[in-house]
Every structure is written in structure tokens, then in C-alpha cells.
């Protein structure tokens, strides 16, 4: 039986209307799942919320959060429920007597406005990328479609991740966050950026300290400090408003490119070194809209029609991929200002590639990803289990080193991890080559090898945890301070322990620990569910 205060339930009904509150087990049960991290370590022992509420306005959100503070009810905000880490927290880690938590489902908050002249959109937390991108393009503007896919909520994704190959041109996410409205964990409404002093959210900084750092997701607390109810996000000029034509029938749908203005290039490079050099050179010339290198597995994924077809192709080429890996550089050029711009950039690209011995391959004149769609859901397709164990932005040199390490370490976890035959990872240039983005993805069969449901999953996360330690050994910075890291133990090894700093700030912002608690649970979770890891990987030796 859930422990959700009856008075609080009635108060919620009066705040949003009875139709938008439910404590029915059938309703609450469906808010238990944690998206991509189903049955991970953190999901063990999870429970469903005691109540679900669907607010429509910022004032309603404020009242709900104040109510949570009054009754000590932990709350969990939900945008699209995609990529919700630990949607239901482990109750045994909460203080004794803590009420069942409240899921605050924000899907009714789906306002979207544009300021075309100043090139930004104002979004509410229920808005996902697809309609925003479409409407932006109709205004001659665009943003990226992130790695999380078009189904990710714009606000949650901007403060959490929002990386995509298009970051090469549109920049890292924190630079795209402008003014916003944030209901803090204690229920106070904070307007930041220019929205603090006027109604126009065109600017993100100030007044005074830039508060956007407190929103941080990837390098931070995954947004566990209240609810951002309105955010202005920067858009970028594309070219004259003309709809990119959607074509095809599911599952093969795509956007047809006007190839006089927008083109993908696939280029085979003679070596990984040559590929990285090309990425740097392209950045120096400041051409392009995206510069990336995709793991081989994704090429096979794109070719295959079914999972079985994928494995047939993948296993048939195993030896060849390991012996003679193909290094494919993928470039997107956009003639933002004119056809001539595209022609010029293509000539520059050809010069760079010719100098480095690359060879242009055939490519489709369509949006296979990133403009309107990203097939992020397809990452689960080959084996049923997937996670990105690492995503960092740093120098390309660091990304290369980290890729080498992870690739080497992964070998001892195969199986149950899918063998990618020495794959080093996903690399892309960011901000015209001034830094890079790196992601290391692993896949596994959650049922493998014994049919035990979590065995594969468990091993996958062991790999993840182990590599935090290896990063310290090899002096590699790890920016992914997410729920499954052990930076509570190893974080200080990287210097100023921002993990602890962020936690201190959170406690100031959330004095009653109701906003998506608990955060500081790395030690506790490992002690409870995988104590052997501490010994096996000598994690205590890394505690500073």
C-alpha cells in the first residue's frame, strides 16, 4: 500500500483539477519504468509512485512543489519519459517515513512560440524536438536533433545533453540556453537571463552570476533541482524557408534534401589517423555543418532490414572488420547563404580529402539522421540492451585516447557485450573543430548468456563502473557525472571535486530533499546491489 498523504492528494486535485491527478495503482504502475535503463542496477527494487499529477501552468507546478515541501513528498518531473534515469527511486535509500513519491508528468505543458527576428524559440517542458524543428525550418531557422532522438523533450534535453553532430555548427548545449523560468526545489520561481528583468528571454546570462550552470545535466545532477517550466533556446539560420520534403513509408521515411543546398558525404579514409587529421583540418577551414565518424556497427544497422538480417551481415564480415577496418568520415555541408557556399565548401573538402588519401563514397541525398530525426531507439535493436557508457566533450586527442582505453577494456567483457571487433567509438567535432565529442556505446542481450533476465545487463554496468577507475589510472578525464558513475568515490581524483560542490549547492536549493532524491547514492547502491565490485575493482583505493 502506498504511503501518499490523503490531504496532499486532495490539495493536488484542487490545484490541477481532479481529472489530472491519480493515485490508482494501474495509473501509477506505468510511471515506474526508467526508459533506457530498465533493469539496471538502479532499477532494482524500484517502485511505482504513490500519485501522478499533470500540471498545465508554471503556477500549478509551483503550488505542487510547495505542497511536496510541506508534506516531505519526493517528486519526480517527467517530460517525455524518454531517458528517465531512475524514474522511481529506491525507497530504502530515502529517510524512514518518507511518503511515496509524486510523478509530475509535464506533457500538458506544451507551449511553443518563436521569435523569428531574434532567432529563438520559447518552449515548455512537454515539447519534443520534432515539431519545434519543423516549425523552425519553416521560418528559415533550425536547431539540432540530439542523440537522444526527436522524441526527447527540448528543455530536459538542453539542460541534460543536447549533443548531436550538428553541434559542430550550432555549438554546445549550454550556449543555446537563453532566458528561462525555473521553479526551484523549494517552490520559489526564479527567472534567469534577460527574463529576470523583462519579458523578453533573448539573453541567457545574468543579471550577476550566470545561473545556467546550476541547471547542468550531463556534468551535474541530471536536473535534480526543481523544474524548468519555460526556456528560450537559440535557433540558427538555415536557408530560405522551404520545407524539406518528407518521403517514404515507415520504416523507411526520410527528408529529401535540396542537394544544391545541403549534402551528406561519406568518405573512406586510409587510416584512423588520417580520419582524425581530416576532422581537424575541416575544422580549421570552418566549413561544414557536421563532421563525424560513426562506428561500423551503425553502417550494418542501417543496411539491415531486421535484427536477424543485421546479425547475418555483421557476423559474416567479422573477420574482415577486425583485420581491415574501414574508417568512414561523414560530413554534412550546408549552403547556408547560397548555392555558391556549398560549392565552395565542397571544393575545400575535396582538397583536404585528396591530400589525406581519402575516397568519396556514394551517399543518399536524404536526411538519414540529425536534421529531423535520430534513430536513437534503434540502438536497442541489434541485441535488446544498450547504453552509452561514456559521453564527453574535450579535445580530439583526449577522445582518441579514451576510445583506445575503452576499446581495450571492453574486450574482457565480451560476452555478454556485443563484439564490435575493436571498435574505438563515436567521434565528432564540435564548435568548428575547437573541441570534440566522444561517445562509447555498448550493447548486450539482457537475457544472455543463461536466460537469466539481468545477467547481461549486470555485466554491462560492471563495465561502466570499472571504467571510471581505469580513467583515473590513465589520467583520462570523465565528464559523465551521471547516475551510474562512481564519481562519489573516484571524483576527487580529477581535481576540484565538482561532484561534492554540486551536491552542496543542491542541498541549499533543496533543503527538504524532495526534488528527485536521492542523488548521493553511488556508494549506497553499490554496497546494496554489487558490493563485490568495490573489492574487485579496489574502488576504495581511489577515494581521496
Amino acid at each position: 500500500m502506498k504511503n501518499f498523504p490523503k490531504q496532499a492528494y486532495r490539495a493536488l486535485q484542487s490545484i490541477v483539477g481532479a481529472e489530472y491527478v491519480s493515485d490508482e495503482p494501474v495509473i501509477c504502475e506505468t510511471y515506474t519504468w526508467g526508459g533506457e535503463f530498465v533493469d539496471t542496477l538502479y532499477q532494482r527494487g524500484t517502485t511505482s509512485p504513490g500519485c501522478v499529477v499533470l500540471p498545465r501552468t508554471t503556477i500549478e507546478v509551483q503550488k505542487i512543489i510547495k505542497l511536496c515541501n510541506r508534506y516531505g513528498i519526493p517528486f519526480k518531473p517527467i517530460g517525455s519519459f524518454w531517458g528517465q534515469h531512475c524514474a522511481a527511486k529506491i525507497p530504502e535509500f530515502l529517510k524512514p517515513g518518507t511518503p511515496s513519491f509524486l510523478s509530475i508528468d509535464l506533457k500538458r505543458m506544451n507551449g511553443l512560440e518563436f521569435d523569428e527576428k531574434n532567432m529563438y524559440a520559447i518552449v515548455e517542458p512537454g515539447v519534443i524536438y520534432s515539431p519545434m524543428q519543423e516549425q523552425a525550418m519553416r521560418r528559415g531557422l533550425y536547431t539540432l536533433t540530439p542523440g537522444g532522438g526527436s522524441q526527447a523533450c527540448v528543455i530536459g534535453n538542453h539542460i541534460n545533453h543536447s549533443f548531436s553532430p550538428l553541434c559542430y555548427r550550432v555549438g554546445i548545449p549550454s550556449r543555446r540556453i537563453l532566458g528561462g523560468e525555473w521553479v526551484l526545489a523549494d517552490g520559489e520561481i526564479l527567472r534567469f537571463g534577460s527574463l529576470a528583468s523583462q519579458d523578453d528571454p533573448f539573453w541567457g546570462e545574468g543579471p550577476g552570476t550566470d545561473l545556467r550552470g546550476l541547471l547542468r545535466g550531463t556534468v551535474g545532477w541530471w536536473g535534480k533541482a526543481g523544474i524548468v517550466t519555460k526556456l528560450a533556446v537559440k535557433l540558427h539560420p538555415l536557408f530560405k524557408p522551404e520545407r524539406l520534403k518528407p518521403i517514404g513509408i515507415s520504416p523507411d521515411t526520410t527528408l529529401e534534401f535540396p542537394t544544391n543546398r545541403i549534402r551528406w558525404y561519406n568518405i573512406t579514409m586510409p587510416s584512423l589517423d588520417a580520419l582524425f587529421k581530416a576532422m581537424r583540418e575541416i575544422g580549421k577551414t570552418e566549413i561544414g555543418a557536421a563532421v563525424m565518424r560513426v562506428p561500423m556497427l551503425w553502417r550494418y544497422r542501417a543496411k539491415a532490414k531486421t535484427r536477424e538480417h543485421f546479425w547475418e551481415l555483421w557476423e559474416a564480415d567479422a573477420e574482415e572488420i577486425r583485420k581491415n577496418p574501414v574508417y568512414i568520415l561523414r560530413i554534412l555541408l550546408i549552403g547556408y547563404t547560397s548555392e555558391k557556399q556549398l560549392q565552395y565548401e565542397e571544393r575545400v573538402l575535396q582538397d583536404i580529402i585528396a591530400e589525406l588519401g581519402g575516397e568519396f563514397r556514394r551517399t543518399r541525398p536524404t536526411d538519414e539522421s540529425w536534421i529531423k530525426n535520430a534513430d536513437s531507439a534503434g540502438m536497442w535493436w541489434p541485441a535488446g540492451g544498450y547504453v552509452s557508457v561514456e559521453f564527453i566533450h574535450d579535445t580530439l586527442g583526449h577522445s582518441i585516447a579514451r576510445g583506445e582505453t575503452l576499446s581495450r577494456e571492453k574486450e574482457t567483457f565480451i560476452p555478454p557485450l556485443v563484439d564490435e571487433y575493436g571498435e574505438k567509438g563515436w567521434y565528432q567535432m564540435v564548435e568548428l573543430g575547437h573541441c570534440s565529442y566522444f561517445e562509447f556505446l555498448i550493447q548486450w542481450d539482457p537475457y544472455h548468456p543463461t536466460g537469466d533476465y539481468v545477467s547481461g545487463e549486470y555485466k554491462a554496468y560492471e563495465f561502466w563502473v570499472d571504467n571510471q577507475r581505469v580513467g583515473v589510472d590513465e589520467h583520462q578525464y570523465i565528464s559523465h557525472l551521471g547516475p551510474m558513475t562512481v564519481l562519489g568515490i573516484t571524483g576527487a581524483a580529477y581535481g576540484p571535486n565538482y561532484y561534492q560542490l554540486m551536491e552542496k549547492v543542491r542541498r541549499i536549493l533543496d533543503p527538504n530533499e524532495v526534488s528527485d532524491p536521492p542523488f548521493d547514492m553511488h556508494d549506497k547502491v553499490i554496497d546494496k546491489w554489487a558490493p563485490e565490485w568495490k573489492k574487485k575493482y579496489r574502488l576504495e583505493e581511489y577515494r581521496f
Partner: protein, 424 residues
């Protein structure tokens, strides 16, 4: 052949909650207003009213961790089984969310909780008088105009269906006249035609459905016809997909071919044997019935095992909605002089359901009409004068909303437009 929710446990467990089941394909999504393709989540908002929510409920029921309650019935049955979730999921994954939901309904019936009382009443009607309305069985052939003379024996048997036989006789009449006008020899099953069983299968009443299936198949066999022609999308999908599914066969292995009237007419247009003489000056938009569009791909029987990496042995061919009947009705409308076809935002595999299917119009009429109203708003945004569909249930649902709101938009079944273009 009995399929149970346990057969689809993997599919429910491997849902990654990407929302592909509720959003319009992102490539085609244009606005927040029409971003959802699942009427259930759009209307009821809580995640229990989505495919991913129902898959979670299925797991909890299988594990005995959730009670069978009226709220559960509400969440499971307030869904048109329109299949929008299924094609959305299968854009990226090889899973079967629709089959999870179909079998979940069967489980609720087994447990004595489902279906809803109104749906039970329809089952009673079908059992007593072989039609969903409870009208006398003897009245079934009354729709037939005196000047239309079906053959006593023909390769094509027109399976009229309950809706067109009793409630929307204009569709049956138009279909029969079209066949006559195009010199197509066809026969009827007359009193041997029973309800196809869609209201039973779609609400989980599998045993009762099997009786309909067995009778109708036997009737067609006895008739000697090789093609079952229908003008109802629900009937089409039932004959083409659900009959073989419940018999444990592929559609291709059935003894007859199933054809919707739009396929037949399109075929005549394509081979040059039909040209429309009459001008029909009208700006129309076409509504894809779920059961003629994304759900109409042939059933491909599969039996095997799941192995390492979740691979299926032998490999399974998934029905992803790619080969639904999307072009035929559009070809027909575009071939009619004077007709201007304009498209709504959500079309083909992304079409929004009219709201009538899955037993919803019978048990939750307010929800059915709400869904139809949403579609009419979308249709009106195209500035079309009329919304045209190819199923009597779509027509009925749209017409009810048009009447109640006193809307100016007209509602037609495609057979009525075809007949106008053909008639002298």
C-alpha cells in the same frame, strides 16, 4: 490456434519507452496540435493509456503483481487497437506491441473482467442474430436494391458486413451498383453471411470469434468463390489478417483472396478498363481507415524460438505497416474528374484513427466521438469540403460528430463518390 500474452512477454519487456508508439513519425510530424497519433494517450493523458503503459501493465499482470480492477479494464479497453503504436514501434524495433494488447484483452476476458458490458451485449447480439445490432437475421439482405441482380455463382463473393447491411446500406448499395456498372459478376452469401466477428476479436472474446470465423469460411468455401470482396475496412482486416492468425496460417495459405472494393476499382483503372465519365466537383481529403491502411498487411504465420541476441529462428517477417492499402483510394479519387484531393497532416501509416475501432464506439462513445472530432478538425484545416473514407464505421463516427456540431464538412464513403463518377 491460441496465442497468449505470455507469447509476447519479450516484446513487452523490451519496450524502451521511446514514445514511437504515440508520436507521429518524426519525419512527418509538423505541429504540436497534431503530434500524437495515438488517440488514447492524447485523450486520457496518463501513461497507462499508451502502448508502453499497457505493456508495463501486461508484465505486472503476468507476474501477478497487479490486481484485475475496473481501472485496469478502463486502461486496456479505452484503445481503438488502431495499430498506430505498432507501426511506430516497428520503425526502429522488432517488437509486437499490438499483439501484446490484443492478447491482454483476451486475458481479461478469460479472467471474467472483460469486455465492457456494452461489448458483451454486442457479443450476445451476434450470438443470437448473427449481427452486432441484434436486428433479425432475416433482414440482412434487405439492403439490396431491386434493380441489382447478383449472380447465384461467381468468383467474387461480396461480403457486405453488418454495418453496411443494416446501418449504412448506402455503402452496400453503392458497392453493388459499382460492381454492376463495371460488369463485374458477383454473388452474395445472403443468410449464410454472419458478422465477421471483428467486435468479438477486438475485445478479446476469442472463443466467440472463432465461431464466426469457422462459419464464414465454410460459407465462402461452399459458395465456390475464390475472392472475398468487402467494402468495410474492419471486415477486410478481419478476413485478411485475423482469420488466418487464429487458424495458425498465413494469409497466403488461405483458400481465398480478400479484396477491398478500392483495390478492385484501382486495378480496373490501372489496367485501363475503367474511366470515370462524370465530373464530381469537390475538394476532398482522404481518411485512411486503420484496418485498410497500416493494419491490412497479410498475416505471416511464424513459429520458432528466440535465441542469443534476441534473434528469432527462423527469422520472422514483421508487419510494419509499409504495405498497407494507401495508394489505391488516392489513385481512385485522383482519377475522378473534378475531385481535388488534399492531404491532412497525419496520413497513411501515421493516420489518426476515426475513433470507432476496437470496441470503443460501442463501449466508450464519448471517446470515439472525441477522436472523430479531432480528425475533423484536422480535415477542416485542409479546407476540404468533404472527408472521404473507406469504412462504414469511420463514416458513422464522423457523421455523428458532424451532425452534433452542425459542421458544414460532408462525410462520404469512397464508394459513394465512385458511384457518382460512374453513374449515367
Amino acid at each position: 490456434m491460441t496465442i497468449t500474452v505470455e507469447d509476447y512477454r519479450y516484446d513487452a519487456e523490451r519496450c524502451i519507452r521511446c514514445g514511437g508508439c504515440k508520436w507521429v513519425d518524426h519525419i512527418y510530424m509538423t505541429s504540436i496540435r497534431f503530434a500524437y497519433k495515438c488517440p488514447s494517450i492524447a485523450r486520457y493523458l496518463f501513461d497507462a493509456y499508451s502502448a508502453y503503459g499497457r505493456e508495463r501493465l501486461a508484465i505486472m499482470l503476468m507476474d501477478g503483481k497487479l490486481d484485475y480492477t475496473p481501472q485496469l479494464l478502463d486502461a486496456i479497453y479505452k484503445c481503438q487497437l488502431c495499430g498506430a503504436c505498432d507501426v511506430g514501434c516497428k520503425r526502429n524495433l522488432d517488437l509486437e506491441p499490438l499483439l501484446v494488447m490484443e492478447t491482454l484483452r483476451a486475458r481479461l476476458v478469460e479472467k471474467g473482467l472483460g469486455p465492457a458490458p456494452e461489448q458483451k451485449k454486442i457479443a450476445e447480439n451476434i450470438s443470437n442474430s448473427h449481427n452486432r445490432y441484434g436486428s433479425p437475421h432475416a433482414n440482412r439482405p434487405k439492403w439490396l436494391p431491386k434493380d441489382v441482380k447478383p449472380a447465384t455463382k461467381a468468383d467474387i463473393v461480396y461480403f457486405v458486413g453488418c454495418a453496411s447491411s443494416y446501418a449504412h446500406t448506402e455503402i452496400a448499395q453503392a458497392t453493388a451498383r459499382i460492381l454492376t456498372n463495371t460488369n463485374t459478376k458477383f454473388m452474395l452469401l445472403d443468410s449464410e453471411e454472419w458478422c465477421c466477428g471483428y467486435p468479438l476479436y477486438s475485445t478479446g472474446q476469442v472463443d466467440a470469434f472463432k465461431k464466426q470465423l469457422e462459419h464464414n469460411i465454410e460459407a465462402v468455401k461452399t459458395s465456390g468463390a475464390s475472392t472475398v470482396l468487402v467494402s468495410c475496412a474492419e471486415g477486410y482486416k478481419t478476413w485478411k489478417v485475423d482469420y488466418p492468425k487464429l487458424l495458425g496460417k498465413s494469409t497466403a495459405d488461405m483458400d481465398f483472396r480478400v479484396m477491398h472494393i478500392v483495390e478492385y476499382i484501382d486495378q480496373l483503372i490501372q489496367d485501363g478498363s475503367l474511366k470515370f465519365d462524370n465530373k464530381v466537383d469537390m475538394k476532398v481529403t482522404y481518411h485512411d481507415p486503420c484496418n485498410l491502411g497500416r493494419l491490412s498487411e497479410p498475416w505471416i504465420q511464424w513459429q520458432g524460438e528466440r535465441g542469443k541476441w534476441g534473434r528469432l529462428e527462423p527469422p520472422k517477417e514483421f508487419r510494419r505497416g509499409t504495405y498497407g492499402i494507401y495508394d489505391a483510394p488516392r489513385n481512385i479519387l485522383q482519377a475522378i474528374p473534378g475531385v481535388e484531393l488534399v492531404e491532412m497532416e497525419r496520413t497513411k501509416e501515421n493516420a489518426w484513427c476515426c475513433g470507432a475501432g476496437g470496441g470503443v464506439r460501442d463501449a466508450y462513445k464519448d471517446f470515439a466521438l472525441w477522436a472523430a472530432g479531432e480528425r475533423l478538425e484536422e480535415a477542416k484545416a485542409t479546407s476540404a469540403e468533404a472527408i472521404v473514407s473507406a469504412c462504414p464505421h469511420c463514416k458513422a463516427n464522423f457523421q455523428d460528430v458532424v451532425d452534433s456540431r452542425q459542421e458544414k464538412v460532408k462525410v462520404y464513403d469512397i464508394t459513394e463518390i465512385i458511384l457518382q463518377a460512374l453513374s449515367k
